[in-house]
């Protein structure tokens, strides 16, 4: 006869870089239910719109999360620009695209490392973070910061990047492609790694739709949606197709993210070819009035920003629905029926970002 027990998981746990708490209901070694509780890193930054004016709030938005910092800042700025009907210069749009993709590259490489660490493959973790440092060098060279770049402002970008440097990035990424492929081939082909990933934590296409999953987690279940196709920043001039897999297990999620690494390299190459010369910012006058829902594709999936302004320098409301928040119900579904030892795999393969989720 099986025994039922409840195992608390987190907030401080060796495989979790961030605190989240789950109550796992087990029948022997099998998980039958998981109940999350959050709030360990809830700061309440959405309420700061009442204390910082809408220009300064850009810096708060950039600190929602240290990994997608650039994208958070950019999306906030684009939302306000939409409300104020500001058309930013073409060059700024392309710069945004390039920085977005650099963020995605470093985020995916970071995630691959954490996944490897999660299944106990230490050297693979080191390899992917070694490659990631090259991307961070590019971010640092062009923005001045490694993680929090602070180059966004309403009306464009704070910094320009010389064309030579952008061409240098493309050449460097081309060189790196071979190294990345060698490293990612281990994830995709190694027998032991495969045994941890294949057939584990399956989310079907219907479940992904019903549970509102987003991003690579959703695409790995066979839904071809990528918010970049809506054409914010300069994505309307970039050719890209959503990468999908129809298996829906941990392996599929890894596969999708790995292919997105190469897709990002390609996008940066396209953007470097098309980027025009010119200004990178326009002056902004007046205060915003109105509301806007901004949707962007972050490394973890679609994020939705809601900005409501009332014509003063303080916004009425800023709200961000981050991808991990949307992916939690899907994650809880994949946890049901898995082995206790596989729980870290389920949590890691949605690429959780708790600081985004709790804000």
């Amino acid at each position: 006869m099986s025994t039922r027990s409840v195992v608390p998981f987190g907030p401080q746990h060796p495989v979790l870089p961030e605190p989240i708490h789950l109550d796992l209901v087990l029948e022997d070694e099998k998980v039958v239910e998981a109940v999350p509780s959050i709030g360990f890193i809830h700061r309440g930054l959405e309420s700061l719109v009442g204390k910082k004016d809408f220009n300064d709030y850009t810096y708060i938005a950039e600190r929602i999360c240290g990994i997608c910092s650039f994208m958070h800042g950019m999306s906030y700025c684009e939302a306000v620009e939409h409300i104020m009907n500001i058309e930013i210069p073409e060059r700024a749009k392309y710069l945004r695209t390039i920085w977005c993709e650099l963020s995605r590259l470093h985020s995916h490489l970071l995630w691959l490392g954490l996944l490897a660490d999660g299944f106990g493959f230490e050297s693979l973790f080191m390899q992917s973070w070694r490659l990631r440092e090259n991307i961070l060098d590019m971010v640092e060279a062009s923005t001045g910061g490694r993680l929090i770049s602070s180059v966004n402002k309403i009306g464009g970008q704070l910094k320009d990047v010389p064309n030579d440097m952008i061409r240098g990035f493309v050449a460097k990424l081309k060189d790196m492609e071979k190294d990345i492929r060698e490293m990612t081939d281990t994830f995709l082909n190694d027998y032991t790694v495969n045994s941890r990933l294949r057939g584990v934590g399956i989310l079907t296409k219907q479940q992904a739709l019903d549970l509102g999953a987003v991003g690579p987690f959703m695409r790995a279940s066979g839904i071809a949606l990528d918010t970049r196709k809506r054409g914010y920043a300069a994505y309307s001039n970039i050719e890209l197709e959503p990468i999908t897999s129809d298996i829906g297990d941990c392996y599929a999620r890894t596969y999708v993210r790995i292919q997105e690494i190469f897709q990002s390299i390609d996008i940066i190459r396209q953007a470097a070819e098309k980027i025009p010369d010119g200004e990178v910012a326009v002056p902004v006058k007046g205060f915003p009035s109105g509301e806007y829902f901004m949707r962007v594709e972050q490394p973890r999936g679609e994020a939705i920003y809601y900005v409501k302004a009332n014509g003063t320098k303080f916004l009425d409301r800023f709200r961000v629905r981050t991808p991990t928040f949307a992916n939690l119900p899907g994650m809880l579904e994949t946890l049901k029926g898995c082995q206790l030892a596989d729980v870290p795999m389920m949590i890691l393969t949605i690429d959780p970002c708790i600081s985004c989720t709790e804000r």
């Binding site: 907030p11 401080q12 746990h13 060796p14 870089p17 961030e18 605190p19 709030g39 360990f40 890193i41 809830h42 700061r43 309440g44 930054l45 309420s47 700061l48 204390k51 810096y59 708060i60 600190r63 929602i64 999360c65 240290g66 990994i67 910092s69 970071l110 490392g113 973790f125 080191m126 973070w129 070694r130 440092e133 910061g145 490694r146 993680l147 929090i148 970002c353 708790i354 600081s355 985004c356």
Partner: protein, 146 residues
């Protein structure tokens, strides 16, 4: 720094950080920075740890977690607050759910500034912590002898 006297193990806890500093703490372990060459190991068990690295500010919910981890660590121990949020709350100081820096709940020995703190400065903080650990070890020995 000419030589490292001991190989301290460190425990990392994310208070309410934006992830930036956490990722930089992890980056310290990886090949470019590689703190493991000093014999430093990142452990998950408070009872194994000598140095407690905290990132992010403190809120009501993680206050007890931080105190709990701190009390479980054996003496001598050193607390390093990494990043401006852990030092005094940083940009989130005005948020309703942030009490302030780590020193509101446990004594902090070393403050590492930065947003996000760079791996170089985190390592500098850890190396300073090793020196402090030596000093604290002397007094712990004395207490035991008396």
């Amino acid at each position: 720094m000419l030589k490292v006297s001991k190989s301290p193990w460190l425990l990392h806890y994310d208070g309410s950080s934006c992830n930036g500093c956490d990722i930089e703490v992890l980056a310290c372990l990886t090949p470019l920075y590689d703190v493991e060459r000093f014999g430093i190991i990142n452990t998950g068990n408070p009872k194994h740890a000598d140095i407690f690295l905290i990132t992010g500010g403190i809120n009501k919910q993680n206050e007890s977690v931080v105190k709990q981890i701190y009390s479980q660590m054996p003496n001598p121990k050193v607390v390093v607050a990494v990043g401006i949020c852990a030092c005094n709350g940083g940009v989130f100081k005005d948020c309703y759910n942030i009490m302030g820096g780590v020193d509101k709940v446990i004594p902090v020995d070393i403050y590492v500034p930065g947003c996000a703190a760079r791996p170089e400065s985190i390592m500098d903080g850890v190396v300073k912590a090793i020196a402090l650990l030596d000093e604290k070890r002397k007094s712990v020995g004395k207490e035991a002898a008396e």
